[in-house]
């Protein structure tokens, strides 16, 4: 059994009378890359702030790397790297100065500091601007400096709040690759409202909406859980009536919609979850002598699931 790195139990957070987190519970084990997904204002940042010891929760408990975030806040902060939303930095400092400052705060041994700076500079592609003032850097560069800061202490757990926000497409791709690589050494909890990002980088997804966890599983599981997951598209040429009634009578088929396309019948077949009738449809077409030019399964992606589950709330 892998070691539990993050353990969240019934976490609730009020801002005044506003309920930001409502009874959130989840666990993350060592070396998992978990995506914390939700629309804006769902409580992602609040959760990360509680886990990093920046804000206390109203009730509930949370442990990071075996320490309680409230009563052992300092020990927790020694084990983590945190990239807050928008990567706040000191614009007047140079990148190297900033990293030295942060390394000092994180109590990294004096002899190791320059080695660690070299490592994170390499890792986050910052070689060409490591001596420039932070105020002169582009958004993407700053984001990388923030990530480098999170990494500098070689933390057990990394919290990344919207790590790719404000980056251009190339940088987004590079950052995702970096996160996937880092996932081999660190436990990562990253928040995002971009689905493709989470699908691409995370081994597990926790979806939050309005302060609640509404789903938790691998991206694949979550897609499969969608009830319309097994929808078939078939294009058949033949008499309309018999085709519809024939397909409808197949076991597991719930609904058939048709449309016409240059002489072909385009069927959209909805089935019960987990039922695949492709073979039967092909057999039926062959038996009756209909022509069949397309037969495929339309797999719902995480996006469909996300939209559905958020809309349900």
């Amino acid at each position: 059994m892998a070691e539990t790195m993050i353990k969240v139990r019934n976490l609730t957070k009020y801002y005044g009378s506003l309920l930001a987190l409502n009874d959130v519970s989840f666990e993350v084990t060592r070396s998992e890359v978990v995506g914390f997904l939700g629309p804006n204002g769902a409580g992602k940042t609040t959760t990360l702030r509680i886990l990093t010891g920046y804000q206390p929760a109203s009730s509930g408990s949370a442990q990071v790397a075996g320490f309680d975030v409230f009563s052992q806040s300092k020990q927790v902060r020694e084990q983590i790297g945190y990239l807050p939303e928008n990567a706040p930095l000191y614009p007047e400092m140079r990148v190297r100065e900033y990293l030295q400052f942060r390394a000092g705060l994180k109590n990294i041994a004096r002899g190791v500091i320059s080695k660690r700076i070299e490592y994170v500079t390499e890792r986050c592609w910052m070689k060409e601007f490591v001596n420039r003032p932070i105020g002169h850097l582009s958004k993407g560069m700053r984001q990388r400096v923030g990530l480098a800061d999170a990494l500098i202490g070689d933390p057990k757990v990394l919290f990344l709040d919207e790590p790719t926000i404000g980056l251009d497409p190339t940088q987004i791709r590079e950052t995702r690759n970096l996160i996937s690589e880092l996932g081999q050494q660190h436990t990562i909890l990253l928040s995002s409202h971009i689905l493709s990002e989470v699908e691409a980088t995370c081994s597990r997804v926790i979806i939050v909406a309005r302060g609640r966890v509404v789903a938790d599983g691998t991206p694949h599981d979550l897609s499969a859980r969608l009830s319309e997951a097994s929808r078939l598209i078939a294009e058949v040429k033949g008499p309309e009536g018999p085709i519809i009634s024939g397909v409808k009578n197949l076991p597991g088929v719930k609904q058939v919609e048709t449309s016409h396309e240059d002489g072909w019948q385009r069927l959209r077949i909805a089935t019960a979850p987990g039922v695949d009738v492709r073979e039967q449809v092909a057999k039926l077409a062959a038996d009756r002598g209909w022509n069949l030019r397309e037969l495929r399964r339309e797999v719902a992606n995480l996006e469909d699931y996300f939209v559905k589950i958020v809309a349900e709330q």
Binding site: R49, T52, G53, Y54, Q55, P56, K74, Q75, R77, E78, I80, Y82, P84, N86, P88, L89, Y90, P91, E92, M93, E97, F101, R102, G104, L105, K106, N107, G146, D149
Partner: protein, 239 residues
């Protein structure tokens, strides 16, 4: 302790990265230079820095110190760097201590520039060194107190203007207005008003005496304000 020094160093560095430090230094030097060079440094006057210590510096500092302290915490709140700072393994007290020390060292640097006046007085006269040292000791204590007032208000707000105006108002009241106020009140109130007057607490240092009452006043008020600042910073987490 190492982490306090890390923060102190960053603060000192930041003073020199921003124009504020240079503006403040220039104003400070120009003002002192004018007062000392044109009004005080002539034959026939007493060979001491008493006018500089007694009236000029404490009053100039009322304007200058809030400008140095206003960004200490306010800037961290406004830019969001407070989040990275407070999620690093440092305590609230370490942050406040580091910020205080950084500003205090910059202030010491400012005071060092006035040594040139001491040298000038020494070259052309025979000053009382005892009064010179107690004057400097008084100035260090006074500066520490001013800085802690400024740091306290900077810890309270993310708005630097609010921080600078509030610190200025409090320091100006304690430095200028207490004298006038004490004329209009009687009895115990009068004694209290007189005792919170900075000019009153500071005057004996200029005359060459280290009075335990004055020493205690500056040290305890400074420590108290630093303590309250730590508590204010702590309370920010709960909002």
């Amino acid at each position: 302790m190492g982490r306090v020094w890390t923060i102190t160093r960053r603060e000192l560095l930041c003073f020199f990265c921003s124009p504020i430090a240079y503006v403040v230094l220039v104003v400070f030097l120009a003002f002192n230079g004018y007062i000392f060079g044109f009004l005080h440094f002539r034959s026939g006057t007493e060979s001491s820095l008493r006018p500089l210590f007694g009236y000029i510096l404490p009053l100039v500092l009322v304007f200058i110190i809030p400008m140095l302290t206003m960004r200490l915490m306010s800037e961290e709140y406004r830019s969001g760097t407070i989040e990275t700072l407070m999620t690093a393994p440092v305590s609230d007290a370490t942050v406040i201590a580091g910020k205080f020390l950084g500003t205090f060292l910059f202030y010491v640097l400012m005071l060092l520039t006035t040594l040139i006046y001491a040298a000038a007085v020494y070259a052309f006269g025979s000053p009382d060194f005892g009064a010179l040292w107690t004057g400097y000791l008084g100035l260090l204590l006074l500066g520490a107190f001013y800085i802690s007032v400024g740091l306290f208000f900077s810890t309270c707000t993310s708005n630097q203007i609010v921080a600078v105006v509030c610190s200025f108002a409090v320091l100006a009241t304690l430095a200028f207005l207490t004298g006038a106020i004490s004329q209009h009140v009687e009895g115990a109130t009068r004694v209290i008003v007189q005792h919170v007057s900075i000019t009153y607490q500071f005057s004996e240092f200029v005359q060459g005496a280290i009075n335990l009452n004055n020493l205690t006043f500056f040290v305890t008020t400074t420590l108290f304000l630093l303590f309250v600042s730590v508590k204010v910073l702590e309370s920010k987490r709960w909002r």
